[in-house]
């Protein structure tokens, strides 16, 4: 730490070694039990780079002093991607938050908050094609690092499909990545490089129309055609977040359909307005989330098996994302339920939604990517113990998964 204290002030403007700050930056949205907390190590310091040069300096220092780096956006992921497992430098990207609109796309730095970006784009007649359901807080770099689906994914797919290119920094400098090569960075939690900025595809800012339909899950599957966004919420979750007391499908259109006779526009607008507010479910009881991705073919069967869970479903171009909300009734008991949710999904051809700190053992990441990681980060300094390699907590989860 002494070397860092000596060196950081020469290359980075904003940094902090304060012990309280180090505690705060060791955690993210993930709930960790007091027992598991013993495996969390506080970072040595936090840096908030304001430009590429500062990020490069930090990487150089990391390599020379052999101190790991944990990149951080708004820390709104529940997969522990920003949780610190080693004494490290936390690189908080929230001060790299400029963006520029250019030729129908936008180049946004890593720390730009999605909803802020959307509001500014709307003023210029544009809109994001996709954005996460945590958009009021989460950052561009954060979502890219986690990967996944969000609002608009029914029409436009996951975040990866909506990136023209990204610029990443690693120990060799800054590189621009696009097309197929995005797979080496999107969803890898910064284990192969730090996302500096992204050029994002946009859509024209057309007024969206929202409709709700009270229907069964099977019926919902047949109603999503032509929509920009579609999500389904069962009665249990609706009750928890104050959005009705029936199983309900939200359909959002860029062009409203001609036959609206069986659609409820008022309820549709209400659910749309609450699209970021899933955490309302935590008003009356502490909760944890569990998520799984299912192919369309088996989504219905999985849904019927999960009838006891409070569930939200997001329909996408190529799969169905299930999010289970579990009231916390005994930490380990609830975690076991969350694990069961994923195990059942796997039985139906599904998989865990993301990796982060919790599920690197799920082998979502292929061998090719693991090889790439070794090549760009031979000393394993970039977010160690995440996405491409196990850690003590993921090993415990693995054990839990073995419980019948």
């Amino acid at each position: 730490m002494d070397s860092l204290k000596m060196e950081l002030p020469h290359s980075v403007k904003r940094y902090d070694f304060h012990p309280i700050q180090r505690i705060l930056y060791s955690q993210d949205l993930l709930k960790i039990s007091p027992f598991l907390r013993r495996f969390i190590k506080y970072p040595l310091c936090i840096v908030q780079p304001e430009n590429d040069e500062e990020v490069i300096s930090i990487l150089e220092m990391s390599r020379r002093l052999k101190i790991p780096i944990v990149p951080r956006g708004a820390a709104t992921s529940a997969y522990g991607g920003a949780t610190t497992l080693k004494n490290c430098i936390v690189v908080d990207f929230t001060r790299m938050n400029r963006f520029e609109l250019k030729d129908g796309s936008v180049v946004a730095e890593s720390g730009v908050v999605w909803l802020d970006l959307e509001k500014e784009l709307n003023k210029a007649g544009y809109a994001l094609r996709v954005y996460p359901t945590s958009a009021p807080a989460s950052t561009v770099g954060g979502w890219i690092a986690q990967g996944g689906y969000g609002i608009g994914s029914l029409k436009y797919g996951d975040i990866k499909k909506n990136i023209e290119w990204i610029e990443v920094a690693d120990f060799d400098g800054v590189k621009r990545v696009k097309g197929e090569d995005l797979k080496y960075y999107v969803g890898l939690f910064g284990t192969t490089g730090l996302v500096l900025r992204a050029c994002l595809k946009l859509r024209e800012n057309r007024k969206l129309s929202n409709y709700a339909v009270k229907c069964s899950f099977e019926e919902a599957l047949d109603l999503t055609d032509g929509a920009y966004h579609a999500s389904y919420m069962n009665k249990s979750l609706g009750n928890m977040i104050g959005c009705g007391d029936a199983d309900v499908l939200l359909l959002t259109f860029e062009e409203p359909p001609s036959d609206l006779s069986y659609f409820d526009e008022v309820l549709g607008s209400k659910i749309w307005d609450n699209r970021f507010n899933l955490l309302k479910a935590a008003r009356n009881a502490d909760i944890i989330f569990t998520e799984a991705i299912l192919p369309y073919e088996s989504a219905s069967e999985f849904y019927s098996k999960m009838a006891n869970f409070a569930v939200k479903v997001i329909f996408t171009t190529d799969c169905v994302v299930f999010l289970g909300v579990l009231p916390l009734r005994g930490y380990y008991r609830t975690v076991m339920k969350a694990v069961k949710f994923i195990k059942v999904a796997e039985k139906y051809g599904g998989r865990v939604y993301s990796t982060g700190m919790l599920f690197p053992h799920k082998n979502i990441v292929g061998g090719e990517i693991k090889e790439y990681k070794k090549a760009v980060d031979p000393e394993n300094l970039l977010n160690p113990g995440k996405a491409v390699q196990g850690n003590v907590i993921s090993r415990l989860i693995r054990l839990a998964e073995m419980v019948p």
Binding site: I23, A74, T76, A137, K280
Partner: protein, 367 residues
């Protein structure tokens, strides 16, 4: 309120990072989410805090925007006040300037060092006894006397019989309640309440949202704690203007409105001032962040007194937002907002004039 329980319910979603102070400072220790985590660990005895951390906790105008956006519906305004009180009880607070203001107020009964004998200096009419009291508040009494005069004129024009307490009016205590200094708040409550009881006051009108919130929400609570009966109706001038005012119209004046936090988020009064502005014929244009999502002026919660740079940066942002509308007037309903935004506008070359709605409305009341 059990602040430990509230802190434990924080989901760490980070939606509260809209906090104007966090947006400037940028560190988790200044974000509402971070402060909740600090509070929880501190109250659990897991961490020790130092002067820097206490300062970070106080970097907050208690504007309530965090409470507005919190999906878990945590009562954050009360939480910050309780946390500050807890820190004071444990000897970590008050901060230096807040403490100094308390000492000044112990001597002068206002935080501006104004002489108590001169509290009614603005009064240019004969004070008669009445059951309705106009409570001018410290800022209007000592800093913005035109507002006090305008309010009194407006009430007279509307035919409302009222009195003023003059040198028997004391600071309502809001700055101290917000900064965790309940001892002096209780003393100020006692002094004001005793006088009102003696004078037979049944209704209090105030044009200061800080006083309005304190008198209508906090005084009844403390009265109950002390076993007093608090049967006084408290109203803000703007609701009287909305209800009873008939106005001549002004033309070709473009104005925008700044929601004071204590009137808006704290008390839920958003429509009344807008209705009055429309009644006046002002070409009204809204800023980007309004009503529940309004940006604070930056002055409240002891932020201006203790952390001037942050406070003026927020003020600058708000004035710039008002200027973007193209309005000539930035209208508000709070002397403290007016005072702070005027100073902020001054730093930006006075390109927009900051005024209190009562001052405009008073001149246009139809007799």
């Amino acid at each position: 309120m059990n602040i430990r329980e509230v802190a434990a319910k924080c989901s760490k979603c980070g939606y509260c990072n809209v906090c104007p102070t966090y947006r400037i400072e940028g560190w988790e220790s200044v974000s509402p989410r971070g402060k909740m985590q600090i509070a929880l660990a501190f109250l659990n005895g897991d961490i020790k805090i130092d002067a820097k951390t206490v300062k970070d906790i106080f970097k907050c105008s208690v504007c309530g925007l965090c409470e507005e956006v919190c999906p878990v519906d945590l009562p954050l305004i009360s939480f910050w006040e309780e946390l500050r009180y807890e820190l004071t009880k444990r000897g970590y607070a008050p901060l230096s300037v807040h403490k100094k203001l308390k000492e000044i107020t112990y001597r002068h009964f206002n935080p501006y060092s104004g002489e108590q004998e001169k509290r009614d200096e603005w009064v240019d009419f004969e004070i008669k006894p009445a059951k309705t009291l106009y409570f001018a508040g410290c800022t209007a009494s000592f800093k913005l006397q035109n507002l006090a005069k305008a309010t009194a004129n407006a009430l007279s024009k509307l035919g409302i019989e009222f009195t003023v307490a003059g040198r028997n009016e004391y600071c309502c205590g809001s700055p101290f309640l917000r900064t965790g200094q309940r001892d002096i708040f209780e003393k100020l409550f006692e002094k004001n309440f005793r006088y009102w009881e003696k004078a037979g006051i049944e209704r209090i009108i105030t044009s200061c949202p800080g006083c309005y919130r304190t008198l209508s929400l906090d005084y009844p609570k403390i009265a109950e704690e002390k076993g007093y009966e608090f049967n006084i109706e408290v109203v803000h001038t703007v609701s009287i203007l909305e209800r009873e005012g008939k106005f001549e119209k002004i033309e070709k004046v473009k104005g925008t409105y700044h929601d004071p936090c204590h009137l808006g988020r704290h008390m839920g009064m958003y429509d009344e001032p807008r209705n009055v502005i429309r009644k006046l014929g002002i070409d009204f244009v809204e800023m980007e962040r309004v009503r529940e999502h309004s940006l604070c002026c930056g002055a409240g919660g002891g932020l201006r007194s203790q952390f001037k740079e942050i406070s003026f940066e927020i003020g600058r942002q708000r004035v710039l937002e008002a200027m973007e509308t193209g309005a000539e007037y930035l209208i508000t309903c709070c002397p403290f907002c007016e005072y702070h935004l005027s100073k902020s506008a001054e730093k930006l070359g006075n390109k927009i004039k900051v005024v209190d709605l009562v001052e405009i409305a008073e001149k246009l009341i139809s007799l």
